[in-house]
Amino acid sequence: MTEHIIDIKHLSKSFSGKQVLSDINLYIRRGEFVTLLGPSGCGKTTMLRMIAGFLNPDEGDITLEGNSLIGVPPHERPLNTVFQRYALFPHLDVYDNIAFGLKLQKIPSEEIDKRVRKVLKLVSMSDYEDRDVDTLSGGQQQRIAIARAIVNRPKVLLLDEPLAALDLKMRKDMQIELKEMHRQLGITFIYVTHDQEEALTLSDTIVVMNDGRIQQIGTPMDIYNEPVNAFVADFIGESNILAGQMVRDRRVAFIQHEFDCVDEGFGEDVPVDVVVRPEDIYFTTDPAKCQFKAKVNSCTFKGVHYEMFVDTDTGYELMIQDYDPYPVGSEVMLYIDPDDIQVMKKERMANVYEGEVTGEGKVEFLGTEFECPTDGFSSGDKVRVTVRFEKVDLLDHVEEAATTGHVEFILYMGNHYHLTVRTKSGEKIWVDTNDVWDKNDYVGINILPEDILLEKVEEDGQEV
């Protein structure tokens, strides 16, 4: 299991100036079930299409068993793809769809016959050889698409969101079958999905991607239990993500309470992000065990468990999942095990941009000019601009704003929202706010002059 079948090194790609993949490094072991997981636009499909050969990377290399695939056309790559919307040939019946690749290889017809029947059996579609593909249900088409790919005995099977078009029940069944097929065939699977649950169920290894970069690589357990950053924690499963402070080793403060934890090495009094899964917050009736108190403000039955939102005595909202419901309005006592607190390094403390003083009281950054006090600076000075997250104002009325942007990502932090906004200059600005915005909202961005902090930067980029 340790032999690499695919190595991806320094892979980069941009489409008309927009960076879709930046410096991706990844290896895939022979026989592994690897999932590329991320929201739409994260670059996962682009990466799969480059492995298949439908796109060429701008930079970097992809090797299969040590041989570079760069410049090898798709029909010469010993890989096969299962496409998102199946892409079965509508003018061919089931048999001819599956036999398509084998016929091109000029394999004798008895051999083709044998292999087609065998693979049809594997996908449990034995009696469907003569059917027209458009008479098949979505799930059946999906099986044929898989059969058509694996009948060629590819070294790696690429699957591009193969279950996305199926309904929930069908999807669950197919997940089990895919896992079983992977076990039987022993072929390496590279699977692309945006469905975190699917990724957790199927994969040996999950590669979480966002914004053209790999966020985390690990087993499903690793990724779920030890997310490396807020994005991964939010994307995989439900979680309470909270701003905190490392008091010292094995002691962390958040929601204005101190907790024991198992993390070390952050230093003392260092700001951190803390993740607590909703199933890891426990109710207790023992005042000795109680770490903090809260009031239940909603309780919803979710089938197996109840999902409750509670307001802590310190004003934070937390999500809790438990098998027993607690009445809305009741005061409850809660505690968290040290093991269940995941502490993460804060990725950023404030918005920092390179800017330039353009005149008396004027500084340019984010592709536009802002007013701010410029005492001690002169026009043309290069400056480092710092804006605290909570000092950025988002407005409905874009006409009155200094610049505009789209809300790209929303993180609920217990008592406020942490938003990632993509400005029209293509840069990101992070915003802490109590206002409710939706993803993709078009917003105006304003910053008060006194909230823009400037530091002088020498031409070579060194601070004075």
Binding site: H75, F83, F89, H91, A149, N152
Partner: protein, 265 residues
């Protein structure tokens, strides 16, 4: 209920008017009289002379029919190939050049025949190309190809874009993928484009009229026009039209009955 009866009556009335001239031709094809509307008793003699060539202008009529079919066949075949290749190209184009070519493609469809005819006539005069079969076929290709493009493009849009990639992925070279996957998927559009081109070409009068030159090249339309202008219609046109109409009637009804049957299954 009254609404339904009224609707049926209305449709029936329009159909009666639409078919009256055709029935009129058909009825008078079974009499010997030379001019339309003159009944001199039931007779097959016009049919006989149509097939035995025993009429005054027989060679003219027969070569007109042959020309019409030949030109329609060649022009629509060329248009189908040219239009399909063009549609694949246009489908993969972006931006201004795509808009420009689609704009040019629309012009022959919007232009009245006479403008297409006159403008092509001027082109051939300008280039000193002597007019005849070649110019008529080129002219017919000009007004037929846009319809092929318009019939093939929707098939490309409906097509799962991954189908071509799937063929490559399964080991087909780009040429094999084109032959084994793309063309079969586009075939329905190509066929309806061909049929449409064929009928447009058969029915054309004005464009042929301006581009046929002076070598005496006649299609059925120009033959009828010249004939009618001379005063007397060649009487054998009546049985000919009747036969053509019956063939089309049978073919179209058969096609539609089959389609309805397939849909019901």
């Amino acid at each position: 209920m009254a609404k339904k009866i009224f609707a049926k009556l209305y449709i029936a009335l329009i159909l009666v008017v639409l078919y009256a001239p055709i029935v009129f031709i058909a009825v008078f094809s079974f009499t010997e009289a030379k001019s339309l509307g003159n009944w001199t008793g039931f007779s097959f003699s016009l049919y006989k002379s149509l097939f035995t060539g025993g009429m005054q202008n027989s060679s003219g009529l027969i070569s007109a029919v042959n020309n019409t079919l030949l030109i329609a066949l060649v022009a629509s075949a060329i248009a189908t190939v040219l239009g399909t290749v063009a549609a694949i190209g246009i489908f993969n184009m972006k931006g201004r050049s795509k808009q420009a070519i689609q704009f040019l493609n629309n012009i022959p469809m919007i232009n009245p025949d006479i403008i297409t005819g006159v403008s092509l006539f001027l082109l051939f005069v300008f280039l000193h190309i002597s007019q005849g079969y070649l110019t008529v076929i080129l002219a017919h290709v000009t007004f037929c190809t846009p319809y092929v493009v318009l019939n093939v493009l929707p098939k490309l849009h409906q097509m799962n874009p991954n189908i071509y990639e799937a063929a490559l992925d399964l080991g087909a070279t780009p040429m094999q993928a084109l032959r084994k996957v793309l063309v079969p998927v586009l075939r329905p559009g190509m066929i309806s484009g061909f049929i449409l081109s064929f009928t447009m070409s058969l029915d054309d009068f004005a464009v042929t009229f301006f581009t046929r030159g002076t070598i005496g090249l006649d299609t059925l339309s120009t033959f009828i026009y010249t004939d009618a202008r001379k005063g007397g219609l060649t009487p054998e046109l009546k049985p000919l039209m009747t036969i053509i109409f019956l063939i089309i009637l049978v073919v179209l009804l058969a096609m539609n009955l089959k389609k309805t049957k397939n849909q019901n299954e």
